[in-house]
Each structure stands twice: as C-alpha cells, then as structure tokens.
C-alpha cells in the first residue's frame, strides 16, 4: 500500500518537473528574444530594405527578408498541400488501408521527417542544377516544400484515419464515387485537423534556415520574380548575428522577434479557424 503511494508521488513529481521544463524553455526563449530584440526594434526594421552598410550598423530594415520568407513559406505550403492531400487521400480512400503500399508510405513519412533540413537543401540544390535553375525563390519553394511535406502528410494522415468508416459507407450508399466522397465528406470531416497540419507546416517552413541557404540564396532587394534569389528571415538573423558589431547583433534579435510574432500569429489564426470549422464535424 505504501509502496504504491510512493510510486504515485515520485511519478507525479517527475511529470510536474517535465511540464515545467517545457514551459520554462518557451518562456526563456520568448523573454530573451523580447529583452534583446525589443530595444533594437523600430518601424524602419519592418518597412525598409537594407541600405548600404546595414550590416555595419547603418540604417535600413529587413523588409526584404520578411516578404521573402512569407512568399517562400506561402508558396511551399501551397505546393505541399496539393501533394500531401493527394498522397493522404490516396492512402486512406483508394489504397486498401492495410495494404503494404499504405504501410510503406506511412513508414517513409516517418523516415523523411527525421531527415535534417540541410539534406533537403542539398537535395533541392541538385534538383535545381538538374532543372538549370540558379538560386531563386522557386528553388527555395521547392526545397522547403520537400522539407514540410512529410510533416504535413503525417499530420493529415492522422486526422483522416480518424474519419469513421461508417461515414464512407453513408456516402458510398448514396451512390457517391470515391473521389466525391474524398473531396466532399472526408476532407470536410477532417478540415480542422487539415488546417492545423497546414499551419504547423507553414510555421516549420518559415523558420528553417538550412534548407534555403543554397536554394533561395539571399538578396537585399524585395523579391519580385520566382527566378531571382530571395532573402529569408532565418538567414537574415544568421548574417546579422555573425557580424562583430553589437548593434547589428541586437537587430538579429529584433528580427527573431519579428519571426516569432509571425509564427505566434499563425498559431492564433489556426486556433480560431479550427474552432470555426469544427461545427459540422460528426462525432
């Protein structure tokens, strides 16, 4: 009797400590970004492109990187949505659910998820060489789409697997084809989960530096063509942190703050949208 109580107490303490550790990690990161970044943050940071000597402490901003990151992550997300919806609907609606193909596809998502992002960057680079592309927004979009594809597929697969088989039967028994069932019933039932999958993938894509370093390149001007290089926030942070000048390093924290705010906004939007679209869900 006493042994089980001690066991209970020990595990409760362990769980509490782990939870607090996670929470404090988040708080420490947010605080350090806020404390170091907020003083350096000003309006010109988000409204101007880097002027000559920006990295030496002269004036300018990182509008090029903000827009570049938004275009790049947005483009990559759209590309990944199209591909992962096809993959996930195929695995769940068309392939027999327990077939080897479905199992192998799921296994490959897991493997791909574990591949480091620099490998996607290198892989994207070889594709670009093959296609004859230079470092460009398009190249970056392809690399980031590859990076977030496994995560998006896996997250969508989890929710689409939860759609009850009776719902398929209900739609089939009305004479609907698999495609009609997939697009109108399955996607709608899983919509909140699909939205979450899309938005966390966007968040991952916008924050990754290694996959874009060879593929999107960097530039001081606002991106205006898919075939031109584009700046990104993670790389802007990296370059600013790499300078020996303290003021520029502070700007790196300000840039990190901007990136964090963008990601927080995405999370908030995803929560609101998820709540809005759950009303039709059948339990």
């Amino acid at each position: 009797m006493r042994a089980t109580r001690i066991e209970e107490a020990v595990f409760r303490v362990l769980m509490t400590i782990s939870t607090l550790a996670i929470l404090s990690a988040l708080i420490v990161i947010l605080c350090s970004v806020l404390l170091k970044g907020l003083p350096a943050l000003n309006l010109s940071m988000i409204t101007q492109t880097p002027k000559g000597g920006y990295y030496l402490g002269r004036e300018g901003g990182i509008l090029n990187a903000i827009l570049g990151s938004l275009y790049l992550a947005g483009g990559a997300t759209v590309l990944a949505i199209v591909l992962s919806l096809c993959v996930v609907l195929y695995v769940n609606v068309y392939a027999h659910n327990r077939s080897r193909l479905a199992a192998f596809t799921r296994f490959s998502f897991d493997v791909l998820w574990g591949v480091p992002s620099i490998v996607y960057g290198a892989f994207g680079f070889t594709i670009m060489v093959f296609l004859g592309l230079r470092t460009s927004l398009l190249g970056g979009i392809i690399a980031v789409a590859l990076l977030i594809l496994p995560m998006m597929c896996r997250a969508m697969d989890e929710v689409i697997r939860m759609v009850p088989s009776e719902l398929y039967d209900a739609s089939y028994s009305l004479g609907a084809t698999r495609l009609e069932t997939a697009l109108t019933v399955v996607v709608r039932q899983a919509l909140p989960g699909i939205l979450t999958a899309v938005l966390i993938s966007f968040g991952r894509g916008i924050g990754d530096a290694a996959s874009v370093i060879f593929t999107a390149g960097f530039t001081d001007s606002i991106p205006y063509s898919l075939l031109r290089p584009a700046a990104t926030l993670p790389l802007a942070i990296f370059f600013q942190l790499g300078t020996p000048i303290p003021e520029v390093q502070e700007r790196a924290y300000a840039s990190a703050l901007i990136l964090t705010v963008i990601i927080l906004m995405i999370c908030a939007v995803s929560r609101i949208l998820t709540r809005r679209y759950t009303k039709h869900i059948v339990k």
Binding site: H96, N97, R98, S99, P164, S165, E166, L167, Y168, D169, A170, S171, Y172, S173, L174, G175, A176, T177, E180, T184, V185, R188, Q189, L191, K279, H280, I281, V282, K283
Partner: protein, 253 residues
Amino acid sequence: MEFKSHISVQDLSVFYGTEAALRDINVDIPDRRITAIIGPSGCGKSTLLRSFNRLVDSVDGVRVSGRGLVDGEDVFNPRADVTQIRKKMGLLSQRPFPLPMSIYDNVAYGPRIHGIRKKAELDRRVEHYLRQSSLWEEVKDRLHSPASRLSVGQQQRLCLARGLAVEPEIILGDEPTSALDPVSSQRIEQRFLELKQNYTIVIVTHILRQAMRLADYVVFLYLGELIEHGPAEEVFNHPQEIRTREYIKGTIS
C-alpha cells in the same frame, strides 16, 4: 399471400479471406414488402444486407460469388456499375451518420452528385423528403445549421430523408433502431410501414419483436447459412426447422 420478387439472390457466398461469412444463400426478397433478416449475432445478417449494395466491397480481402438480380441486372457482378446499384438502394446504418454539413446539404448531397443543380428542384426534394421522414416541422427553421447538432433520433430520420432523396427503389436498414430511444424507434418503424407502399424494405434486426411487428417476409440465418425463409406468419407461427423454432422460442440467441 403471393409475392413478386424484387431482389433475387442465387447461390450467394461471401468469404472474408478463407472464412465463409455466407454460404450458398438462395432467397427472393419480395417487392414492396418489409423483409426482416433475423438471426443471432455474427450469423451474416449484415453481410447479406451489405452485399446487396456492394458495401462489402470495401472490406479488405472479401470475395463474393453468386448472382443477385435486381430488375434483371446482376448486382454481384464485379463489372456492374456500383454507383447505379447504390443509387437504387438507400441505407440506414446502426448508428446514424449524418455527413459533416448542414441539414439541407445532407439531403441535397445525393441529388447533387447525381447531377441535379437547380436550386428550385433541390429545395423541392429537400422539403418533400424531410416531410416524408417526418422531420420537416422540427427543422424547417434551421435547415442550414449543422446536422451534427440534431438529436440521435432526428439524425436517423435525416439519414432516411437523405437516402430517399436519391429516389431509390429499395431501403436497406442495418439494425436501424438499435441506437435509438423507444419513441424514436417507433417513429422510424412507423415510417417503414408507410414507405412499404412504394419501396421494398429490407431490415436486419436482432429484436424478434420488431421483426414480428414489421415484417411481411422473414429470412432466418444461422452461422452463415440460410435456415428458413417465408411469409412472416408462417415462419413465426409454424417454423419448419428446429433451429428456427429454438431461436423464436429463445433457447438459442
């Protein structure tokens, strides 16, 4: 009573992998009558029902042999047009599963996928079939609210309206009242008794009393085999087979 046949099942066998769920079923389902498929759990009642509209196809490793003639067409033929077969048969499942959309869109779903786009015609069908399943009065002011907010009993009537809106000839019910409260069950049963004027109705039930209340024709299955079938009066009052007698008396269940 003479019956005209609507579904004619000949030598139907269904295998899940190597295991036979149904063996050599031969039975004629009468037109515009209520047929009850009865028998203990796991005897293949649902499998028989689901082979009519080919929902067994979606089970992994299933194999179907035999013929099932509906209007002269073999519904078990692997090359038959499954959507056309299913269009002829509305299905009510054990638990109602409304589609994840509004009440209106649930009923309009079938007509829409079969090519009806005109709003006036969709409106007409939605109202007509909601009335026929006696749900119209309860939902006419909130047709565009989510179907998932209806009570379970209302959801089952919505599923009935949704099935009817495709204008089928046959209604299949897979224990359609098992998740419902007594009042809702009675409503569904009442609808069936009205609908048999125009539709052939086949229900699976494990409630013997329900079969007695509703059925004109009874099919008794036991462990994948057809033991006895015939007009309800005869099967219930003068069962020919020992197992039917035991099942009706309640010694086996």
